[in-house]
């Protein structure tokens, strides 16, 4: 099971997770980005930037 890069807690990730998908660490609530799938690697998700939006 992958671990959170912020708190080292175990992170549950769905089997069909996609690259660049955002998951949340249940322990520290950090937003994490799936940066590799095989093996699964999580990194802290980028902070919201000024021009983000819909």
């Amino acid at each position: 099971m992958p671990t959170c890069p912020e708190c080292d807690g175990a992170v549950v990730v769905a089997a069909d997770v996609r690259l660049s998908e955002i998951v949340e660490c249940a322990e520290c609530k950090s937003e994490l980005e799936v940066v590799a799938k095989d093996p699964l690697v999580l990194a802290l998700a980028p902070e919201v930037e000024e021009d983000w939006g819909e």
Binding site: R18, L19, S20, D51, G53
Partner: protein
């Protein structure tokens, strides 16, 4: 058989739904992460068109990156939804207001001032309370309710201290006395799919700010205005925001070109398939080529 691509640096609920809708249709798809995108033929006149994608759905959350991605892909001969032209119009409140006005859509009273000093004069003309918005930005950020000239001065002083010249261009709008909600209509390929109310005690009723969403009847007038607004900004896929004034008249606020529809899905459940409609519209012109 070239794949259809979904470009997004952040794969959220909406992008997952779109990938799944493409999968259900037997359409081959791939993912572009705009953070690693580059184009080496930018300077080459007559460079061969790219043939790696049948079409690209631009779902990039960073509007600057999304716009240049669309521009580069279109220049390389790729069909992009939404087009760079639509993205450029929607991402700029002055451009989009001008486009909506040119198509005769009903809008709140609005002024654009090119300096903070000019904004003070524009505010005297519009009257208080009013709303000041950044000309770029989304999710209700940098949108301020201004009750009086002193509050306006405070906001404009902050604007004057900001490094970007864009922040010193000021968009002012009358505060519409709305019934605690606004309306979002999702339009795909010119067809309004449905509408939701976004309800909030705040004057900012963006779903991104926690507004509650609930189904809104899609009246013929609402459908007509939303379709017309999407067409005015050339958006194939659009989230059109409208507001009702005290007399129940509908006014168009803006059109969003990377429409988020999680709140829409929460309100309508699976009765309206936004992701499916987007997938169908993306695939339609080249349908025969890509079935796997």
């Amino acid at each position: 058989m070239r794949p259809f691509a979904v470009a997004a640096s952040r794969v959220r609920f909406e992008e997952k739904q779109i990938f799944e809708a493409l999968d259900r249709r037997g359409v081959r798809s791939t993912h572009i992460d705009p953070r690693s995108f580059w184009d080496g033929a930018i300077e080459r006149k007559g460079a061969a068109p790219r043939d790696d994608y049948a079409a690209v759905l631009d779902r990039e959350i960073a509007q600057t990156r999304g716009l240049y991605l669309a521009r580069l892909l279109e220049a390389a001969g790729v069909r992009v939804l939404n087009s760079a032209r639509a993205s450029e119009t929607c991402a700029d409140k002055i451009r989009s207001t001008l486009a909506l006005r040119a198509h005769g859509l009903p809008l709140p009273r609005t002024a654009a001032a090119l300096t903070p000093d000019a904004a003070r004069a524009a505010a005297r003309e519009l009257g208080f309370p009013l709303v000041v918005k950044a000309i770029t930005g989304s999710w209700g950020r940098m949108v301020s309710l201004v009750q009086n000239p002193d509050a306006l001065d405070a906001i404009l002083e902050h604007r004057e201290a900001m490094p970007s010249p864009q922040q010193r261009v000021v968009y002012l709008q009358e505060l519409v006395d709305k019934p605690g909600r606004d309306i979002r209509v999702v339009v795909v390929g010119g067809r309004p799919l449905g509408a939701i109310y976004r309800v909030s005690p705040s004057f900012r009723t963006n779903a991104a700010r926690g507004a509650e969403t609930m189904p809104c009847p899609l009246s013929p007038e609402l459908a007509r205005l939303a379709a017309c607004a999407a067409a005015a900004v050339d958006a194939d896929v659009a989230g059109v925001d409208l507001v009702e004034d005290r007399e129940g008249r509908l006014l168009v606020l803006e059109v969003n070109h990377v429409v988020e529809f999680r709140g829409f899905a929460a309100a309508h459940g699976d009765r309206i398939d936004v992701a499916g409609a987007i997938a169908d519209h993306l695939v339609a012109p080249a349908d025969a080529e890509v079935r796997t």
